[in-house]
Symmetry: D2
Subunit: 347 residues, 4 copies
């Protein structure tokens, strides 16, 4: 960390900074410059609370050199973490599995039909929400416990592992009974109680980036899960808020190479929420794979114009099948492979 003093800071002010740094257990290295003095902090393990130093008289700015996260960092662990949510469904290696299914579980007929369609097209896992975070209290909030039962049924019918969202501590334990991977939604990316809970449960977690979260924020939220002893975390880029309303969110694909540089955790992309519009899903799914995504999360509904939520961004099953063909081509062009789920026989 570097504490930059104001132009004209007194030597007493510099001395006070040094004193506090040493009181905090680090060593201070003053560095007088042409215009202003800076004080380097040596021995900083990333846990120094900058705020205390920013508050000192004569300090202009505190600059972080060391990242505030540890266990998620590639400096901590150079090799990729590979998160396996079911046999043959691994994120972070050579394959790029596709998780597909409807926004919400609506009925037995709907979820089983969706599961069969995405399995037949080559998806590796089934998504579908039982607990739905909705902006309005008057929107459909999901089937809850019953939705989980229907997901379990769809898993038995198709062999596909399940990825589904938990919204609170109680729900996380319910979800863990059924799901192969627990999803934490964008709105809960900084719900630290929930992050600790899924950290303790120990099942794989799909952690979505918040709508205004920087990559550093996302990694810090993942650190909450790893700090509880659970290293099975898949990050997910799903679009951030922007000034342009042409799409629902702005899918930030540069997050993919950025995460790969900074962290050993895998990252997938969700072009359905990332754009909010069906005709953008295909191009952005291909782009995400080309940028190096370790997998994809795609909304598919057997009858999008009857969907209870997110119909506008859900693909028709035949659109999804055509897209899977394109995705296999793009993956091959960069030396990766979209896997076909092996366990399609009934379990």
């Amino acid at each position: 960390m570097l504490v930059v003093m104001r132009h004209g800071a007194t030597s007493a002010e510099v001395a006070r900074v040094i004193e506090i740094v040493e009181e905090m257990g680090y060593s201070a290295r003053p560095m007088p410059g042409a215009q202003r003095t800076a004080v380097g902090i040596v021995g900083n393990d990333g846990r120094v609370d900058a705020s205390r130093l920013e508050a000192l008289s004569g300090v202009a700015q505190v600059i972080h050199v060391t990242q505030p996260y540890k266990q998620v960092s590639r400096e901590w662990r150079p090799d990729n973490t590979v998160v396996t949510i079911a046999p043959g469904v691994a994120f972070g290696g050579d394959t790029t599995p596709v998780i597909a299914g409807p926004c919400s579980v609506e009925s037995e007929q709907q979820i089983v039909s969706a599961a069969e369609a995405v399995r037949d097209a080559g998806a590796s896992a089934l998504r579908g929400g039982a607990f739905k975070p909705r902006s309005s209290p008057y929107s459909f909030q999901g089937l809850g416990r019953k939705g989980l039962d229907l997901l379990a049924l769809a898993k038995r019918e198709t062999g596909l592992p399940i990825v589904t969202e938990a919204m609170d501590d109680d729900g996380a334990h319910q979800v863990a009974e059924v799901a192969d991977c627990i999803q934490i939604g964008a709105r809960n990316m900084q719900n630290y109680s929930l992050l600790k809970t899924v950290g303790r449960i120990g099942k794989p977690v799909l952690l979505k980036r918040g709508m205004a979260a920087t990559i550093h924020d996302l990694l810090l939220s993942a650190e909450y899960i790893l700090a509880e002893g659970n290293t099975q975390v898949i990050l997910c880029e799903r679009g951030v808020r922007s000034f342009d309303t042409a799409t629902r969110n702005m899918l930030d694909l540069s997050a993919i190479p950025t995460v790969h540089l900074l962290s050993h955790l895998p990252i997938v992309a969700d072009p359905s929420h990332g754009t909010g519009l069906r005709d953008k899903v295909g191009p952005m799914a291909r782009a995400a794979l080309a940028a190096g995504a370790d997998g994809l999360l795609i909304e598919v509904h057997p009858a999008p114009d009857r969907a209870l939520s997110d119909g506008a961004q859900s693909l028709y099953p035949e659109q999804f099948a055509a897209l899977m063909d394109e995705l296999r081509g793009v993956a091959a062009a960069i030396g990766r492979e979209v896997p076909q789920h092996a366990g399609t026989a009934r379990v």
Copy 2:
């Protein structure tokens, strides 16, 4: 709601939209234009799920005319809601109370000293976090239960009502035992489980705007609380994420007149988190009052350079006292009044 068809949409596509609208229980009113047809939806009470219509073939765009929130709307209730958290401490009327105190409760000495200082300067309520949402799992997370006990002690010593944050369902019940007003932080603005819980508890709630939340999002989150029967909600503008790192957040003061136009709920501003820098707190506190804020939330610490969190944005007690004088002048200039807390005697 208005469903705008693509240029060249077929009459069958228009007919399908009309059919679905009627199936949803509303009436449809087609409106052919020079370039494209639009279909108006009459009888819409704000609860139509647009997504289903966006998914239809030939639809270019669905435009919301009616707001999706109800009970928080000024159209639902024309007169201001006045939220009284303690005798003489009311938000939404002629007075503009100031809630002040440290970011975190750190010790008995610290919180009592802070409480006395802000009371003496004219604050109406004491803030201080026992449960702290921190970006890093390695930062100070608050004293928890013990912090609540210290807040109760500070209340007994000074008579000031307490505003403090809850981060999860369990914490909300603990906080409710001690606090006069439960704060929901920016990161939890869309933690719907928590919103429902504080809705049911029924105590006044201070709901902070999320970092990338629009005013509509904020009002929808408040609607979750009102939908549980709790109308005692104070909104809080605390800055949003922006591209400029000159300040920690961008304090959006236009939120104040915007909320006053759209809703009957009071709105206060938090210039401490809104700027993150001590020297900006005074100017932005004055500006918020001048813009019509119904109160302020200001961080004050007896020794900011010893603070365990947010020291850089905390005022020294003497700075706070000087600011209170300025605030009284600004309030008077626009026909309002910064109240002095009456119950300063020990309880």
Copy 3:
């Protein structure tokens, strides 16, 4: 266009809106709703000035249904515009040419060496700035006239057509003497005087999206050029400002399918400025092609660590050659082709 009245607007207010609409030469169609009345404007050709209507008493909101641009719209011209800047170098068709070269022209040796390197790797055109818009007046501002002469020399040596930026009217005429395509930079996207000038010059124009421009803004700026009779416009996504400083800008690849839906003009992507970091250029170049970009703009410098500007985002020649191989694979996977420039012999 739809004029939405406030809840409780009087019939006199509605009548006044209708009167003004008719005075403006359109017909008005009132549409009473459950909560509020709306007035549709029929015959609107996209040129109605909404501001006049927004100002009327009782009006809550004016909603645009028709787009404000015309000639750039795919509704105006359904087939793709193909912009050919030199024989065999066409944007908007089946091929996806790559424009490459250094940020700035620095010397004869540098620009010729860069031109040879990018030609040998398969680029179709040479980029290089003679006039440089720099945030600081103290940064290198380009070689100006002399830079243009060096570009002309590099063209003679390699046969590559030239794309270079103009910053003002006088410069645009100078650039037009040498360049095959005139670039308008992001900072000048709304410099309407300059847009009109390049519209009149009539040479192909590469128009970069401004840092906070919506797709609609970008299309409106292109409309300025088309309105002068010049239809040879290539749009360019080069990243927008965001709250995350992990990359220099946020490359918005969803702009590509959005532009393809709304307009017949081709769109290319600039992953160099779009990320600002060399290690992100490859992944994002591949992603842009996979999303459907009609070409790419990539910075390559013979010696990036000696570059006078943008060294951090410039590829080494060997990195560029390797990337071109990957790009050919990605293009093939989606049925397109990265062309090899034919005219590599000296002219």
Copy 4:
């Protein structure tokens, strides 16, 4: 400047950084840390081109300690610059003049009537556009030369000095003949050719912040004008692009104390463009003054519902007069004064 090396950078990489720094004429000071080495650059006058260093192997990040601007900095000149555009109309001192008038000059009757109204209410200067930058080429583009003549007439009639916008070099010279202060609009904030031109003309300049410009960008643009020898620059906050469409822009009032800290130049606020909505102009004008703005720019039109541009954000003359009373109260509360223009008699 501080060059932070990657974790595990080799000593050869560190040596290469030191070599380049010294080659650039500065001295390098390596600072080994617990996790990574940093290299401080001493003697840096703010003009080091970071890009060259970012490009070096083993470099993780280059951190700027010294600001890249000079003459606009308060470190360069500690005392406020006071910009006087006419006798008694000074920005940056104790008074806070109000510049008011219509968006566009439309006719003799309109501009003279507006000028008389704002003068009578206490404005110190008249604004009104003759050259109008409009997003659409089909919107009213201003009266041009004739508009300037009408402004000159309004000045003769009322004695008010004139502030009006220039959009290009040729226009700047025309504007300079009539205006007391040349406005550079938000869209041209980084039109460096135009900035140099108004720098050379030497008349006072009102420089508006671009829609996605950081405060640093704004100061760097001002530096372009000062670098030409013109120190008479008034900065203007007019709102930035944000994700919330509740207002046209997000007026960033924290820009005011931020500029006051970093620069000696005065800064005014434009709540009309900053909000785009008439009912927000009053609250945000009061807030800007309370935050310390050195003046205001407010749109007033004699008949807003007949305005050719920006009618929705223009005040009625009687609203403006009432607002001026409020502004005088707010200014007084913080020890400043809204001046009354002295020269109201015909000149």
